[in-house]
């Protein structure tokens, strides 16, 4: 399991425990006979269970979520429907808290949903109480509510999406003309049948489906049943079919309760089928969709929507939508718009809703339909805020629902535009207008996610909005990591929405969660510090300190750990005592004591603080110091002394595992490389074709055959046209090739991270380990700005970490250590150098050596003259784009790094000869009389005529080749299978001609004088070379 998932589960456990604590606190307060602020406690209760439910849903814990959902419904009745909070409800909710706490512990442990059977009693009690409460709350309701599905989910309602604003009531004729403009009608009393409830309506008219609570429960049930049916369609099994049948059975019962006979009939027909096949399941889904459109998708008349602000402006909004749909700049049309806008502005102003009034007023100035639509969206965002803040329940006058649906309907357009905008931001368009549009589009995508109940995706959209908005304030283009997360978000959401549209299971939840974790940790990565969670775990921080550590606090805590300071938590009741507050803050700055962070602790309406401090003082000394500051002993307490988890020292680094590279997998990069190579190959062939003088050749032959000059001229003309077209194609391909090369390089760059993210945590780890042993070590780093592929970094991290820890874990500790990264043409060198002379024992060294060899690297240790040891790790670069010179030796193609080539020369026969005094070493004498050692690769060349001279580690080496084929950009791929044992190779590359080239390791040529390696047979093809290990 990834660290991100560990973190998400840890967050779930934290949040869940906090929510349940809050729930019990609220229930306990409500249990007091003198409870004076019941409303706020009930609100807190509702928030707590709502949070718990949402978190459970995010992790797919359907059973847990369903229990929390019912409890939320019950509290909702108390909060919104005036149901008294009697002892029975309090008892049921306490029992709910107990059951949920058990479930929380179990799910945290197993990371899977719980057995629904164990909480059946609770379900029965909750349902029963809701039914009785509803009956008591609304005399029109006599029967218990429909059962809520046991393992229901709320996501992805399949409401057909239409042009939502056009669904607003547009029947202008049904609204009295004066109601549109006469502010006197605002009370709702005189609006009659148009906007206010008809109190004389017969009871028979009040159907249960018109009750918002019943409606919500039923819609949830219908959605759940559809989900089950789709699951049975997608993965037919006894289990999915049984689940679908259970859902249908519940829905049938509920439909009868809700007086929706068409639903009941459709479902009952299905239930009578002994073993419904896929077609019959699909038929039921279609029927349910029809029912949904007919019974739930049609807006209710305005008179049913109550008399709140939203209900009162609803008819005007309908008229506005209709006018917007047929937008015209003509005076008459503008006048009608102005009338409606004026009416809404008046009502909004009367309510003090400034922003609604302004958003409406802004519509007066627009001059085209698109601008009107944008303005309308802004107005609906303001109205949705009103709905959210006032809690006005008007299910069919819900601007929020309309806004969400409109955004869902247009989400692909928004995603497309967002993608283009990201490019613009990167390519010099990082100005306010683009950032504002980014903000607007991200908000729309958030609304669309809300429509589909995709909470994590919605949160991620807002998280990205926040990150980009801060970037806008800082100025400049978003950094590549940020841009990369945004691009990953766009692609993932597109996949998710495609799945939803196709009625398929959404499989990208993990990706979204990872992206969210990545977005949340951007600040820490940017600051180059370990994650907050790592410090939380290391210090065993109390829960109130979870998720509040800023990057600055994390750095302060890491430094304090390095310095071997003690950590204490001090409860400070100083908010109303300036003198004590000042003295305490002063004390915090003395004697190397420092405040790492602090959080608020509420005691009723009072604010107290818990300070996490680091100090050289022991617990007793801190207590003594606090007593001096607060002689009364009532305001300052050292409540806890924390002990850093020494046995878990590597946790910070574990948490520092390299940030995920969302979206750009190795396979994807390879695929892009193949496309680029294919493109280069086509270009190569076209070029060869264009170089043939086809017209001249044919003309010569025709001439020789005695063909008449006029016919030859005609054929020459035709061939000339073809040649012209070939040249055009070549010209067009030129920029395409360049673009592909850029794409390859940029994609590879996206996988890169600075070496700093490996060096710094290891340095911190070494210092902490030394401190643990009561010693000090000076650690310095070099080369942190080197940018490397994450795969290489991960390998280096594992090896260096083990080596560094081993060096400081022995009986004698070095006092100085240097960690160095260096990049050398086609490989990366990492080095650990210290002042301890003892070499690492073979039994520890060997497994690490094996690990490095597996990555085609080399591990060496050498003693430094004068004392000290140097450990070298050399790894070949891979998944990078290199500029290579392709040469042929025998039938095999090799790639030599262009930046290592100092000369390509053709020498006279006999220029190479053997020097007996040098052990039979072969050398080449250049025209300049210089002697260069010859290094033969693979099959002997036919004639020693062409040499490529490479400069390696300040020495030159001459490689005889049969042919120099040309320079090209290639993606360096790691060696796999049998080839991985060839140390002299750095990797392989797919060449423009479709062949495979072996990329020579220049590091391996260092000091070589004979043939470098055994020839690789001519059977090497892309298929054999590129096959996975």
């Amino acid at each position: 399991m990834s660290d991100e998932m560990d973190e998400i589960w840890a967050l779930y456990a934290d949040d869940g425990a906090q929510a349940l604590d809050a729930m019990e606190t609220a229930l306990s307060a409500l249990d007091q006979p003198d409870c004076s602020d019941a409303a706020s406690h009930i609100a807190a209760l509702f928030r707590a269970i709502h949070t718990f439910k949402g978190n459970s849903r995010v992790l797919g814990l359907a059973t847990v979520e369903s229990r929390a959902h019912l409890a939320e419904d019950l509290i909702g009745l108390v909060r919104d429907q005036g149901v008294p909070l009697d002892q029975e409800i309090r008892d049921i909710l306490l029992m709910t808290a107990d059951v949920l706490r058990d479930m929380l512990e179990q799910t945290e442990r197993t990371r899977a949903d719980v057995d629904p059977g164990a909480s059946e009693d609770l379900m029965v009690q909750l349902r029963d109480k809701i039914a009785r409460a509803l009956a008591g709350a609304d005399p029109a309701v006599q029967a218990p509510p429909p059962p809520v599905p046991d393992d229901g989910r709320e996501d992805a309602p399949d409401i057909p999406v239409r042009d939502t604003f056009d669904e607003l009531p547009t029947d202008v004729s049904s609204v009295p003309a004066d109601a549109m403009t006469d502010p006197a009608t605002e009370t709702g009393v005189t609006e009659g049948a148009t906007t206010g409830p008809d109190l004389d309506a017969p009871m028979a008219m009040l159907r249960r489906i018109d009750d918002p609570l019943y409606r919500k429960i039923f819609v949830d049930m219908a959605d759940d049943t559809r989900q089950r049916l789709r699951a049975a369609l997608a993965s037919p099994s006894d289990e999915t079919r049984a689940a679908a049948r259970r859902g249908a059975d519940n829905l049938s019962h509920a439909a009868r309760q809700m007086d929706l006979p068409a639903w009941a009939e459709a479902v009952d027909r299905f239930l009578k089928l002994p073993a419904p096949d896929g077609e019959q399941i699909a038929a039921l889904l279609l029927e349910l969709d029809d029912c949904q459109g007919r019974d739930l998708g049609t807006p209710q008349p305005a008179q049913d929507t109550g008399n709140g602000f939203l209900a009162r402006i609803w008819p005007d909004l309908g008229k506005l939508a209709a006018l917007g749909a047929e937008f015209s700049p003509e005076t008459d049309h503008a006048a009608r718009r102005a009338d409606v806008i004026g009416a809404i502005v008046q009502r909004a102003s009367a309510e003090g809703l400034i922003r609604v009034a302004e958003a409406t007023q802004a519509l007066l100035a627009v001059t085209d339909r698109q601008a009107f639509r944008d303005g309308e969206l802004r107005l609906y965002e303001e109205l949705a805020a009103v709905e959210s803040a006032t809690g006005e329940v008007a299910p069919d006058a819900s601007p929020r629902a309309l806004l969400y649906r409109w955004c869902a309907d247009h989400v692909f357009e928004s995603l497309g535009e967002l993608s283009v905008l990201l490019d613009a931001l990167r390519n010099g368009g990082a100005h306010d207008a683009n950032y504002s549009r980014f903000n607007q589009l991200m908000r729309r995508i958030h609304h669309a996610c809300q429509h589909y109940h995709m909470d994590t995706a919605g949160q991620l959209a807002m998280s990205l909005l926040d990150l980009f908005a801060r970037q806008q304030t800082r100025g400049g283009a978003p950094d590549p990591i940020l841009e990369h997360i945004a691009q990953g978000f766009i692609s993932t959401i597109e996949l998710v929405l495609d799945s939803l549209e196709d009625g398929q299971e959404v499989l990208q939840t993990d990706t979204l969660q990872k992206l969210f974790a990545e977005a949340s940790s951007v600040a820490f990565v940017a600051e180059g510090v370990v994650s907050a969670a790592a410090i939380e775990r290391k210090l065993g921080l109390p829960r109130e300190f979870h998720r509040v550590l800023s990057p600055e606090s994390v750095r302060a805590a890491a430094d304090a750990l390095d310095a071997g300071l003690h950590f204490h938590v001090i409860r400070a009741d100083i908010n109303d005592d300036d003198r004590l507050a000042e003295a305490f803050v002063l004390w915090l700055g003395q004697n190397r004591t420092r405040s790492i962070t602090n959080v608020t602790v509420f005691r009723g309406a009072e604010t107290l603080f818990d300070f996490l401090i680091a100090t050289p003082l022991s617990h007793a000394s801190v207590v003594e110091a606090l007593a001096h500051l607060d002689p009364s002993g009532t305001r300052l307490h050292c409540t806890q002394t924390l002990t850093a988890d020494q046995s878990d020292l590597d946790l910070p680094e574990a948490a520092q595992a390299l940030p995920p590279v969302a979206g750009i997998s190795t396979e994807m990069l390879e695929r892009i490389g193949e496309i680029a190579t294919g493109q280069a190959m086509i270009h190569h062939m076209q070029k060869e074709l264009a170089e043939i003088d086809m017209a001249g050749e044919i003309d010569n032959r025709l001439k020789a055959a005695g063909v008449a000059p006029d016919l030859r001229a005609e054929i020459r003309g035709l061939l000339g046209g073809v040649t012209e077209q070939q040249r055009d194609i070549l010209q067009l391909e030129g920029p395409l090739l360049a673009q592909m090369a850029i794409l390859q390089e940029e994609t590879a760059a996206l996988r890169s991270r600075p070496a700093e993210i490996v060096l710094q945590p290891i340095a911190a780890l070494v210092k902490a380990q030394a401190a643990k042993a009561g010693r000090k070590i000076a650690v310095s780093t070099l080369g942190g700005d080197l940018s490397l592929d994450v795969t290489i970094l991960e390998t280096l991290r594992n090896v260096l970490r083990a080596l560094a820890l081993h060096r400081v874990g022995g009986p004698t500790l070095p006092g100085i250590m240097r960690l160095i990264f260096r990049h050398d043409r086609d490989c990366v060198h990492a080095m650990i150098e210290d002042d301890e002379a003892a070499l690492i024992a073979p039994e520890f060294f060997r497994p690490l050596d094996d690990l490095v060899r597996q990555a085609q690297g080399r591990l060496r240790q050498v003693q430094i003259p004068g004392g000290g040891t140097r450990l070298h790790v050399t790894l070949p670069l891979s998944m990078v784009v290199i500029d290579g010179m392709v040469v042929r030796i025998g039938s095999v193609r090799y790639v030599l790094p262009v930046n290592a080539i100092s000369l390509i020369t053709q020498e006279a026969p006999g220029s190479a000869f053997t020097i007996s005094a040098s052990g039979g070493r072969s050398v080449l004498q250049l025209a300049s009389r210089d002697l260069v050692p010859v290094c033969r690769i693979g099959t002997p060349v036919q004639q020693d005529r062409i040499y490529v001279i490479l400069t390696v580690a300040d020495c030159r080496v001459a490689i005889p080749v049969d042919e120099v084929l040309g320079q090209q950009l290639v993606l360096l791929r790691p060696l796999r299978g049998v080839l991985s044992r060839l140390e002299q190779l750095n990797g392989i590359a797919l060449l423009a001609g479709g062949e495979v080239g072996l990329v020579i390791s220049t590091a391996a040529l260092e000091g070589e004088s004979a043939d470098v390696f055994t020839p690789v047979g001519p059977a090497l093809t892309p298929a054999t070379a590129l096959q996975p290990a």
Binding site: I354, A385, A389, G458, D466, Q472, T600, G604, A605
Partner: protein, 133 residues
Amino acid sequence: MPYNVMIVDDAAMMRLYIASFIRSLPDFKVVAQAANGQEALDKLAGSDVDLILLDIEMPVMDGLEFLRHAKLKTRAKICMLSSVAVSGSPHAAKARELGADGVVAKPSGTVSHDLEEKTGDELARTMRALVAA
């Protein structure tokens, strides 16, 4: 004319630090302070505030709840200033969802004595960008 700022933070010390920082900015002036969201809503009515610096975790009414209500009835720009509002964090995301115009994280906890030193530039830049928008 300097822009009018309201500080909403339950920590008295933090209000002092913020006010002291704003005094160093010639283009801003503190005109009101409140210790929780409810108190801020009461003071907001009828006042002429251009910018609100708002903490999130407060008793009685927290910053997010205040934001939800205040956004309806004021033109003032609202900038969250909270220790839990680290870039891209769930709290920052929620604040943006509810319409926060700007979000800045306190550097070292709910009482950040080093606000000016560590976050002063970012806060000043954000405040200026918001009132200029």
